[in-house]
Symmetry: C2
Subunit: 194 residues, 2 copies
């Protein structure tokens, strides 16, 4: 199924250290390489919800622009958790992760992923949102999860594909893979129409 023109005619590069994103892109059956650059994830205060994720995805892409050759198509992405009018990013330590999971417990939050596709000639950004409903989590459950997993590289301090997602997430509304970090069906569509 790699007869998609954008995929056939480009070398695909994923600019993400996230093993989840790498796994998801692999599942599409696309050949790609990974290229990493540290970009400080700073954004203007006035941005909200999906605008933050899109801004950061574009920021990451622009950092690579001058280095792309004419055959390369670069994919960047940024995922944020939005709850009660605030962003939860990656937790700084155990206490911060505990605090985040207490905020998510017993309520709905929205996961936004912004994605940017960029070549020398063209740039396209898009995003997806998924509502995630956690049941009330016991403190002992949060402690067990944080001690058995180390979700410090994950926005909101959880992986939906990990124990806390299995026992705590009642339902979602939207794309499951978006919560993992990449709205893979939309990405496939966007690559098809790039």
């Amino acid at each position: 199924m790699n007869d998609i023109p954008a995929i056939k005619s480009h070398d695909i590069i994923l600019a993400s250290q996230s093993p989840r994103r790498q796994h998801l892109l692999k599942e599409l059956g696309i050949n790609f390489t990974v290229r990493i650059k540290e970009v400080p994830e700073l954004y203007p205060d006035y941005l909200k919800e999906e605008a933050i994720a899109v801004y950061l995805a574009k920021l990451k892409a622009d950092a690579f622009l001058s280095e792309l050759n004419e055959h390369e198509l670069l994919i960047t992405a940024d995922t944020i958790v939005w709850v009660n009018g605030q962003v939860l990013g990656k937790p700084t330590d155990y206490d911060d992760a505990f605090r985040m999971l207490k905020i998510l417990s017993g309520t709905m939050h929205t996961v936004y992923t912004g994605v940017c596709l960029i070549t020398q000639q063209k740039e396209k950004t898009f995003w997806a949102s998924t509502q995630v409903y956690f049941r009330q989590l016991g403190d002992h459950e949060i402690e067990y999860y944080l001690n058995s997993h180390q979700p410090y590289d994950k926005a909101g301090a959880y992986g939906i594909q990990e124990w806390i997602g299995y026992v705590g997430v009642e339902r979602i509304n939207g794309s499951y893979f978006n919560v993992m970090g990449l709205p893979i069906q939309k990405l496939y569509d966007e690559l098809t129409n790039f």
Copy 2:
């Protein structure tokens, strides 16, 4: 987290050949064994939607009842796809699978999983439903999927965690793991309260 009384005081048995169900239960961190019995999946014509899945889960459980010892807690499950007032079960062959995916293409269907927990003393059934939205699938995509995967053990002829799920499912409303065959969060709750 195996301090759940029903789990501590019972030997858990999963009566399912499905590698997805076995994987999901393992992710809960529960020790269990697998026991298989062939039970013809027949149900009365008048049943619809979740009633079919619950009936079949109970049918599978009852087949084991006389063989359970006092320490055993058996889990059975049945998953069906319901679309346009009809059930899609497991496809019989390539043409049947192709027909099913053409029905699912471009529309919403509902996945129901019925689950039965049974011991010598007690029986509990419950179910979960998830709405799944497929975009329009091209015939070449269906062909590619059927040739690269063999979804003949899956209700509705697809696995949401396989290529066709990645590229074709726009969104879901409900539990993702329920679509894979086991509503794992609800199962955890029911085991906690058994």
